[in-house]
Structure formats: C-alpha cells, structure tokens
Subunit: 304 residues, 2 copies
C-alpha cells in the first residue's frame, strides 16, 4: 500500500529529529487528541517504547468526551493501553493555569508531552512578555519533550499521512489566552519584521540559554550561601542564585514558601553579606543576620 | 522665575535616576539634537561633569546642518564647548549600520550617549528577533549610558521644561528600519497582550542577563581552552565561551577574523575535546587537533 509506505517513510524521517528513550522503555504519553500529542503517540510507538496513553478530560465543554473517544480509537489502532481521567475545572479567571494544575495532578511526573518547536517559541515570547530571567527565556526544557525538534506542521502532516482523526481544540483560538495572541498576532508580526521564520531561531536561542542557566546553577551550587566573604567575592549572578536557593530550601525550623524569594529580597541579603547592613527581613517572618563572616537564617523575634 | 524653578526641580529628580561619573570628571557627550541627547547634555552639566559636546552631521538630508545649529545653541546656552564632525554616508542598504560605523569612527571610545530604557527595550527585542544569545539579550551595557534608568518621555519633558528646541529625526519613523517597527508596532502589541508597560520589564530583564553574561565570561576565562580534559568536564556553556574566545583571539601565526566563530564551529571543537574526533577545521584555513590531552590550533596544510 503506497499510502502506508508514505506514512512509514514520514514517520521514520521525523523520528530522526526526536529524542525518545531507548526501545523497550516504559513511557506514558499525554494525549489530548490534537495533532501534536497524537504524533507523540505514533512516534513513541515507532521508537519502540512501551507506550501507555493518558488522556485528561477537563469537562469544560459539553462534548469533551468526544475528544476522549478520538484518543481511545488512536490508542486501539496502535495497540497501546489508554487511561482516561476526568477532572473538574470551573470556568473563570486563570482558566488555562488551573486546567494545567488539574492535569498535572493526575499525570505521572515523568509523562511525555507533545510540545514542538512552535510551543517553545511561544513559551520564550510569553516569558519575554513577563520579564522572566534566564530560566524563563530558556523555555521548555528538553527532558520529557521528545518532539521539541519538530514543527507543528510536521505533526499535522504525520496525522494526516496516518489518516488519524484529529481534535481541534477551540480554546487555541480564544484571544483571552495570552499564548493564543502570541501565536496568532505576535509571531506573525515578528516574522514580518525579521523577514524570516522566527520559530527555529527562538528554539535555538532557548537551547543555548538552557545550557547557560544550567552552568550558572551548577556553579552556584558550589557556593556556600552562609559564607559572607565568598558570597561577596563571587560574581553577582552566582551569589544571587545561591541565596535564592538557600532561602527557598526547606528549613526544618521554618515553613517552606510556595514561591522563590523576589529579586529585592535576594539583593538585601547580598547587602548584608557585603557588610552594608547587619541584617534584613526576608519575608515569611524570617530574618538573615551576619555574625562575623557567617550569614544566619532565623525566625524573626517580635520586638527585637 | 517659577519656570526655571520647575526645570531645576525636574532636572534634580531625573538626575537621581542617572549614573554619571563624579563631579569634575571630563566627559564627552554625543548630541544629535534629539530630546534624549539634549537631556544627556543638560543632566551631565547638572551632575557637575566637565562636558564637551560632539555632534556628527551625517549629511544625509539637505537641511542636516540645521541639526548642528540646534546643538550649538544648546551647548552655548549651557556654557560648554562643542565639536561638529561632518561625515559622508551614502544612502543605500544597511544605512543605519553604516551611519553608526561612520559616527563611531569620529567619536571617542568613552563617549557618553543618551540611550534610555526605551532604547534598551527595543534593543532587547531586536536581539530576540535575531536569535541572539545571552550577550545580545542583555542589551545595551550600562557603562557610558547614564540615562538607561530614564524613559523617553522623561527626556522630552526635561527639554520642554528647559525650553530647548528639539530636532525631530524623521528616520525614526521610517519603517524600513527594523528598530522603528519594533518601536511603533511590536512594543505596542506586546504592551496590549501583557496588559502592562513592557519597557521597565525588559530593561530589568536585560540588567539581570548582563550580570549572568558577566559571570559566565569571568568563569570561562578561568578555563584553559587547550586542555581537552578540563574542557570536556566543564559545563557546556563555559566550554563554548572559552573556545569561542580562544579561536577569536589574535594568534601571532594566523590572521584575526573579523567576527567570532559560529556555534557549529565551536561545537565541532568541543567534539574534538571530548575525543569524538581527532581534529576539525575551524575556518579561515585553520585547524584544531588533539594531541594527547592538548588541543592545538594550527594553519591547515593542504593535502594532509
């Protein structure tokens, strides 16, 4: 059959640009029923992985169970087991973030997702909009995202070559989501100004920045954040990272914060390290003080 | 005079957000006659610096000498000497870059310029468009740019408070320059999507990335790029920087390149360091080879 041959050839050529674990590895693939995640399923099976498909039904539309049936049919066709999870997300503000939270609660931590280079470019630009530091600009990390080397049009072509029914997620057109405006307005404008396709450029940039961020993390981990002298002598970028990590680490005596300390708090601690101040508040009822060359983190005592 | 008081108050309050050298320092200010550079002149004088104004007339418009007269009048008013340089730039492709090259040929290396946070945001976005690595995303460096903490509207207000005549540079409206499309189309769209003013966000981001880039440079400088073992053991981001610097440094035996080696060349050298290959071409008729644990840079001999 010519069509099957064509589908096999395309699958093999796309697989060369993917980063799946070795054949025989157990993997769980998150499949919404869109082209990207269906391509993930097809390619993971072709890579020889032992695939389990999971689908999360957010029940946000009356017909959402139709998506689950599309996923079930694809899983049956490729002979892999499928799990359907129904979660309840109430429509309202921050819908996208809350749906993601609900989804990740039921998905295993090592689930593979179908993010492509287009998702990467959108994420980088969203993080530029938010003024994210280097870790945000490094975008989606490559681990557990085997399709980051593919484009969205590749996944559509693959689904079409295999004759797969694809779900069109209408929320991808909703301009209330910043990501959709990045996709439909910002990327086309950037493409017009730069006079070339910005997606591979942004994806390459993200990958270089991920290496930079990893190097900074590794070097900051070698710094002792309680040693004021070495903190003050270190490059500011490393000292900042070491302090941020220290304040954010679980301390048996004090409750852990839900988010890392902000830049102003970290800079105050560096002022204490350099001797400009003797101590400072770091939020959450905690305080950092310098005793000779040691920084000490303690619960703040009222009235002191 | 109430107006003079108002101008002085505004000058003092803007000066708090500038980074001029100490009073009495000799500084040269590049002044085009636009609001940003006229504000640079006013603020440098108020900071107590010994100011010399330089103006470059690119002679691109028949009336370009009118700009020089605006600058001369402002310099006279603030009692500082002024130098006018006439340079010849032919209209045509890459006009903006060629005008900048001509300008920097006549300006001293330590000249102060009137770049504001708005210029910083535009530069960061232009570098996002170009897929620049961290050094590009760090934007304009703060040294010799004392107004990076100000906004463009601050400089306009200041000129207006001092009753200064301001040149309107029509090339700032020309959509052939990518920078102008970033200013007039990309930034407004980003502002609309992010629902807040992106300029301070991008400026803050650039400053954090500049610290990160500086830390990486400092740590890469400690690596010996000819020691294959330490290169292979270092974080990839540092190894890349060390190799790039090495290949780009003047070697008494080989001519220097006009631009740094590209990422693919650097990655090939890292493959030689890790033992994957014995040697590789690095462009410009040069070759890197591994001899035991040493990398050796040499001129390539034909037929070897």
């Amino acid at each position: 059959m010519a069509m099957a041959d064509e589908a096999d050839r395309l699958t093999a050529s796309l697989l060369d640009r993917c980063t799946f674990p070795p054949p025989g590895t157990d993997v769980t693939c998150a499949v919404s029923g869109g082209a990207d995640s269906l391509a993930l399923l097809v390619l993971a099976v072709s890579a020889g992985c032992d695939v389990t498909v999971v689908h999360v039904d957010h029940q946000l539309r009356p017909d959402s169970s139709a998506d689950a049936r599309v996923v079930e049919r694809a899983a049956v066709r490729f002979g892999v087991p499928v799990e359907i999870h129904r979660v309840r997300v109430i429509d309202g503000p921050n819908l996208e973030a809350r749906a993601r939270t609900a989804r990740y609660r039921v998905l295993p931590a090592d689930v593979l997702t179908g993010h492509t280079a287009d998702d990467q470019a959108e994420t980088v630009l969203l993080n530029v909009l938010r003024g994210a530091a280097i870790d945000g600009l490094a975008g989606i990390r490559a681990s557990r995202r085997p399709l980051l080397g593919l484009r969205r049009f590749d996944t559509r072509r693959l689904c079409s070559a295999h004759g797969l029914e694809v779900v069109h997620d209408q929320t991808n057109d909703d301009p209330r989501f910043a990501r959709n405006r990045v996709r439909h307005e910002l990327l086309p404008l950037i493409s017009d100004i730069a006079r070339r396709d910005p997606v591979p450029i942004l994806a390459r940039q993200a990958s270089l920045l991920a290496d930079d961020a990893e190097a900074l993390d590794r070097l900051a981990a070698e710094l002792d954040p309680t040693d004021a002298r070495s903190l003050a002598a270190a490059p500011r970028a490393l000292a900042r990272r070491a302090v941020r990590r220290w304040l954010w680490t679980v301390d048996p005596e004090v409750p852990r914060f839900g988010h890392p300390p902000d830049a102003a708090t970290v800079d105050r601690v560096l002022d204490v390290a350099s001797g400009r101040h003797r101590g400072c508040d770091v939020g959450g009822g905690r305080r950092v003080e310098r005793h000779r060359q040691r920084l000490v983190l303690s619960e703040r005592v009222e009235g002191r």
